[in-house]
Amino acid sequence: MHLIRGLQDKLARISMLALALFAGLLVFLMAFGLFLRSRPILDSIPLMELLLSSSWHPLKGEFGLFPFLTGTVWVTGVSIVIAVPFSLLCAMYLAEYAPVSIREWVKPLVDLLAGIPSVVYGICGVLIIIPLIKDHLAPLFGSFSTGYSVLAGGVVLAVMVFPIIIHVCLEVFASVPYEVREASLALGATRWQTTKKVVLRKAMPGILAAFVLGLSRAFGETMAVLMVAGNVARVPRSLLDPAYPLPALIANNYGEMMSVPLYDSALLLASLLLLVVVLFFNVLSRLVLIRIERGIQ
C-alpha cells in the first residue's frame, strides 16, 4: 500500500514535469521544425532574394516575399500610429485623472476587449470600416477603393491592440510612486503638467515596451486582417491600396497547391519569419516590463 502511494506520487511528479518541460520547449520545437521545413527553399534561392523580390509566382518558381513583408509593415505601422495616441491618452486618463470608481469600472471592460475572438473584429471591420472607406473616405480624396485596404486593416488592428497597450500602460503608471507626482503638484504644477513632464517621463521605458507588445500582437494577427486588408500580392503604395500581410498569405494558401515545388517550403519560411519577429518583440518588451516591475530603472 505504502509502496503504491509512493510510486503514484513519483509518477505524477515525473509526468507533470515532462509536460511542463514540453510546454516550455514547444516554442523552440516549433521554430526548429519550421526551420527544417524551410531549408529546401533557402537552399535553392538566396534569402536576400526571397525577402527583397516582389514577384510572387509560385508556378514559375518565384517566391518573392517583399509584397507580403511590406503589406505587414504597412498594416502594422498604421495600426500602431492609430493605437498609440488613443490608448496612451486613455491610460493616462484612467491612471492620473479618473476617480477610483470610474477606473475600476472601465479597466475590466477594456480587458474584456482583448478576449473577443479576432474573427468578430474582422466581421465588424467588413461591416463598418470597409463601407466607410469605400463610400465616404476614398471619394473624399477623389480616388477609388474597394474599401479592402491597408487603412481598414490598420484600423481593425488598432482596435485589437488597444486593450493590450492600455492594460500594460496602466500597470506602468501605477509603478510610478505617488510622491513624485506630489512633488510636482506641490510646486504648483497642474495635473497635466505633472502627467506630461514627470509621470510620462518616469514611465517612458514601460510605455515603449507596451507599444512594442502591441506591435508584436498586431504583427502576427491573422484572421481580422485577412478579412479586411484585400489580399492582393502587390506592394501597397497608399493607405487605400489593398495589402497582403504575411499571416494572411500563410492562412490563405497553406494546404492548397501543395503539389507546386517549394511552395510549402516558402510558406513555412514565411511562418518562421513571423515567429522570429514576434518573439523578438515580445521578449524585448517583457524584459523591460520585468525590470520595471522589480523597480530597477
Binding site: 510622491e179 506630489e182 510646486l187 503638467q193 513632464k197 514627470v198
Partner: protein
C-alpha cells in the same frame, strides 16, 4: 512674546471615507518662525500639513470642512487657484523624490512651469537656490547628470532647492529628515534655522528632540485632535495637558 499669524486654521475637519483624520482643529501658525507639529504616528500631523497646500485634495473620497486662511484668504474658499496656492509653499517629503530629470532641470522645473523661459534667468535661479540649500559646491560640475545619482542627503537638499526656486513664503516639511543619516539630518536642520529669517517653516516630526532643537512654536496632536499648542518653551517646559505631558515624557509613543 507675540506672534504674527501666517496660517490661520479654523475648525478644520478632514475625513477619508468614514475615517476622521482631523477633528475641528483651530490654530494660528506664526510667521517667519519654525512650527513643529508633533504627536504619535497616525495622529493627523501629515494630514494637517498637507491641508495647507491642498495636496490632500487628490485623495479619493476626502472631505474637508472648516477654513484655512493664508494672508487672510480662505484657501478652501471659492475662486482659489490651487496651483498658485501651492507655489507659495515648498514641500519636503519624508523621502526625497527627485523628479526623473537632471539636477539642473529639477531646480528649473518649478520656474519653468510658472513661465520663466529665458536661459540666463533660469541659470541664475538654479545657481542661487542650489547655493541657498548648500548644494552648489557639490554639484556645480555635474548639473546635467540625473538627480537620482545624488546621495539621499544631497537629494533632500536638492528637493529643498527645487521648492525654494518657486519663491514660496512657507516651507512645509513632512518628517523631512526621517530617511537621512545624522549628518545629513543635521545639515537640513541647520538650513531650516537659517531659512526662518525669510520663510515661515512648518515641520512635522516624530523626533521630539528635533522639535526641541528647531521649534519656536509647537502644535501637539493626538488622534486627529489638537491637544495643545503654544510657544515651544512653554509647551516643552510646562505642558498644560495630561496627554502632552505624557508624550513629552515618552509615555505615549
Amino acid at each position: 512674546m507675540e506672534y504674527k499669524a501666517h496660517i490661520r486654521v479654523r475648525n478644520l475637519s478632514v475625513s477619508y471615507g468614514t475615517e476622521q483624520a482631523l477633528k475641528d482643529v483651530t490654530v494660528d501658525l506664526p510667521e517667519k518662525k519654525i512650527t513643529a507639529i508633533i504627536g504619535p504616528s497616525g495622529c493627523g500631523k501629515t494630514t494637517l500639513l498637507k491641508s495647507f497646500n491642498r495636496l490632500i485634495d487628490a485623495v479619493d473620497g476626502i472631505k474637508v470642512q472648516g477654513e484655512v486662511y493664508l494672508n487672510g484668504d480662505n484657501i478652501y474658499g471659492p475662486g482659489i487657484d490651487v496651483t498658485h496656492l501651492r507655489q507659495k509653499m515648498g514641500l519636503l517629503s519624508q523621502r526625497p523624490y527627485p523628479l526623473p530629470m537632471s539636477i539642473y532641470d529639477n531646480v528649473a522645473y518649478g520656474p519653468r512651469i510658472h513661465g520663466i523661459r529665458k536661459r540666463r534667468r533660469l541659470k541664475e535661479i538654479v545657481e542661487h537656490y542650489l547655493r541657498e540649500s548648500s548644494l552648489w559646491d557639490e554639484v556645480k560640475d555635474r548639473l546635467h547628470t540625473p538627480a537620482s545619482s545624488l546621495s539621499v542627503g544631497q537629494q533632500q537638499r536638492l528637493c529643498l532647492a527645487r521648492g525654494l526656486a518657486v519663491e514660496p513664503e512657507i516651507i512645509l516639511g513632512d518628517e523631512p529628515t526621517s530617511a537621512l543619516d545624522p549628518t545629513a539630518s543635521q545639515r537640513i536642520e541647520e538650513k531650516f534655522l537659517q531659512l526662518k529669517a525669510k520663510y515661515t517653516i512648518v515641520v512635522v516630526t516624530h523626533i521630539l528632540r528635533q522639535a526641541i532643537r528647531l521649534a519656536d512654536y509647537v502644535v501637539f496632536m493626538y488622534l486627529g485632535q489638537l491637544i495643545e499648542h503654544g510657544p515651544a518653551r512653554k509647551v516643552f517646559e510646562n505642558p498644560q495637558e495630561e496627554l502632552t505631558r505624557g508624550y513629552i515624557k515618552g509615555v505615549i509613543v
